[in-house]
């Protein structure tokens, strides 16, 4: 594989990862916390209404997980294409 093709392929995989992770990001923060809040609020999680919980805490926990997943995926991708620096 030429270096340009390699770079293109690497970038394409990166964009796919981004698309997947950002859709999760969107569903959790905007979907659960804002758009479907009223529907989720009819469900109770302990003392929380579920939609309220997502807006105040749940989405933040998911963000942290997402970013660590991305770090892992990208470090693997770097190795696969030989772009890792150490």
């Amino acid at each position: 594989m030429s270096s340009t093709n390699k770079a293109r392929a690497y970038w394409k995989e990166n964009v796919i990862y981004l698309a997947i992770l950002l859709s999760i990001w969107f569903v959790v923060s905007y979907g659960c916390g804002i758009l479907f809040r009223d529907a989720l609020n009819s469900i109770n999680l302990g003392g929380f209404k579920l939609g309220f919980w997502f807006a105040q805490q749940g989405s933040i926990y998911v963000f942290v997980v997402l970013i660590f997943v991305y770090v892992r995926l990208m470090n693997k991708l770097d190795k696969k294409y030989g772009y890792h620096e150490d």
């Binding site: 919980w53 926990y61 942290v64 470090n75 294409y81």
Partner: protein
């Protein structure tokens, strides 16, 4: 700066204006002595103070109210009488005529817009991006983003819990209490002018219900005291509500309201100071370096000496602090709203340029500049028309006139979309970017390229 002023005014029992001035002096010394490295280390230290100062009272109050040691869980826990804390707060709110606490008072679209503007605004703010210059390797930059978010998450998931605790405590403490029995913290904050009470129905008790207690935004105090020793104000409104509480004090007053020991209160004050000082110092550094280095050295006077550059940097810090101090003494509206507007501006200007620059290879200089100019213009225009007004020319238009019901805080989202569209259209109508630029974009997309890029 207002936050710093509040801490000093409460600590030293002085007027808020004097508090802001003392705060300005401290930040000034702080910013003059430290540099980029100094500020990075002090920010680490300040984060430790901050998280400790914020968590300790939160944990204490959580145990006190719900018996749960983790505030995030305690927020959804039950009170001594078995009802859920959040249900209790909803009930209290409904009784007093407020909206239910967990319901919120903004429309779904507006919340959506504000959240989006805040998120992309953060991504576009320069002082967040420059932090990544301190980590040369891509791998480390990713990891540090993850760790940063983890630490931020600890703080940001505690904050809503603290809000619920303090709101409940505040309502329970002041509601229908007679002024003479009110705890000392209430009177301390009243002395600094951030709480005001006027006995409208003459029963000596505090009525706290929905509606503004004042005509105008801030209480105007008169000399002398009323029947019960309260400070008299001249601008009480007709509404039933008798109590004015400045919302900026909630975090600081929280442990006092919950009746926690003095050392915990001191801790919170320390944390508040640490937070304010570190933000102020960080921003001042960005301001001063961009003025002295990017503007003066690179654009105006290329042959300036290092000493001259340093002098410019210090002068710009001084000017920035004076401006910040003035805003602290005469705050332009509620702090959160001001912050949201700044994020809106960042969302409307930088964010699309950064993202399109990486993801759209056809993007060129003309497109990016046109997008930023249009984005900033309509954002500023909307802010002036609907939020600030022009002094002497017009008052801000009411909420009923908002476009699609979007508040000025959330307008960054619309301005950003306009920016993206303008950028793409203009870039397609003008010549392709030169090969050197497309090559650079190709290059920053892969880690080793980014490694090279950081060296020059």
């Amino acid at each position: 700066m207002r936050g710093v002023g509040i801490v000093f005014s409460q600590f030293l029992q002085v007027d808020i204006t004097l508090g802001v001035i003392i705060g300005m002096a401290v930040v000034l010394v702080f910013a003059f002595l430290g540099g980029m490295k100094g500020i990075t280390y002090t920010q680490v230290a300040q984060y430790c103070v901050l998280i400790f100062a914020f968590m300790v009272p939160a944990i204490f109050i959580s145990i006190q109210m719900t018996g749960n040691i983790i505030p995030q869980v305690g927020m959804g826990g039950t009170l001594e009488d078995g009802t859920y804390l959040l249900d209790k707060l909803d009930t209290l709110h409904t009784q007093l005529g407020f909206k239910e606490y967990t319901q919120g008072s903004k429309s779904t679209w507006d919340v959506f817009a504000i959240t989006f503007a805040l998120m992309v605004g953060t991504a576009g703010l320069p002082h967040v991006i420059v932090r990544f210059f301190t980590v040369p390797k891509v791998k480390d930059a990713r990891k540090s983003a993850g760790l940063a978010l983890l630490f931020i998450a600890i703080l940001y998931t505690t904050a809503p819990a603290v809000a619920v605790f303090s709101r409940t405590n505040l309502i329970e403490t002041v509601r229908d209490q007679s002024y003479t029995d009110i705890p000392q913290w209430f009177k301390n904050w009243e002395d600094t002018g951030l709480i005001a009470w006027s006995d409208k129905n003459g029963d000596g008790k505090i009525q706290y219900v929905q509606g503004s207690a004042l005509v105008g935004k801030k209480p105007e105090f008169l000399e002398g005291r009323g029947t019960y020793g309260e400070r008299l104000i001249s601008n009480a409104s007709e509404a039933t509500n008798e109590l004015y509480v400045d919302r900026d004090i909630m975090v600081l007053a929280n442990p006092e309201i919950a009746g926690l020991p003095n050392w915990v209160i001191a801790l919170v004050a320390a944390g508040g100071l640490a937070a304010a000082l570190s933000t102020a110092a960080g921003l001042l550094l960005v301001i001063s370096t961009s003025i002295s280095h990017d503007l003066i050295k690179k654009q105006l006077k290329p042959n300036i000496t290092d000493k001259g550059e340093l002098r410019w940097a210090r002068a710009s810090i001084l000017v920035a602090i004076v401006i910040a101090g003035l805003f602290g003494i005469y705050p332009p509206g509620f702090v959160a709203a001001v912050v949201a507007l700044a994020f809106g501006l960042a969302a409307a200007s930088f964010f699309p340029a950064i993202i399109l620059g990486i993801f759209d290879k056809r993007m060129n200089k003309q497109g990016a500049v046109a997008g930023m100019v249009v984005g900033i213009t309509i954002m500023l225009g909307y802010m002036i028309v609907y939020k600030t007004g022009l002094i002497g020319v017009m008052d801000p238009l009411p909420a009923s006139e908002w476009w699609f019901g979007t508040s000025p805080e959330g307008f960054g989202t619309i301005a950003m979309c306009v920016n993206v569209v303008v950028s793409i259209v203009v870039s397609r109508l003008t010549p392709k970017p030169p090969t050197a630029v497309t090559d650079m974009v190709e290059n920053i997309r892969i880690p080793s390229g980014a490694g090279k890029a950081s060296q020059h």
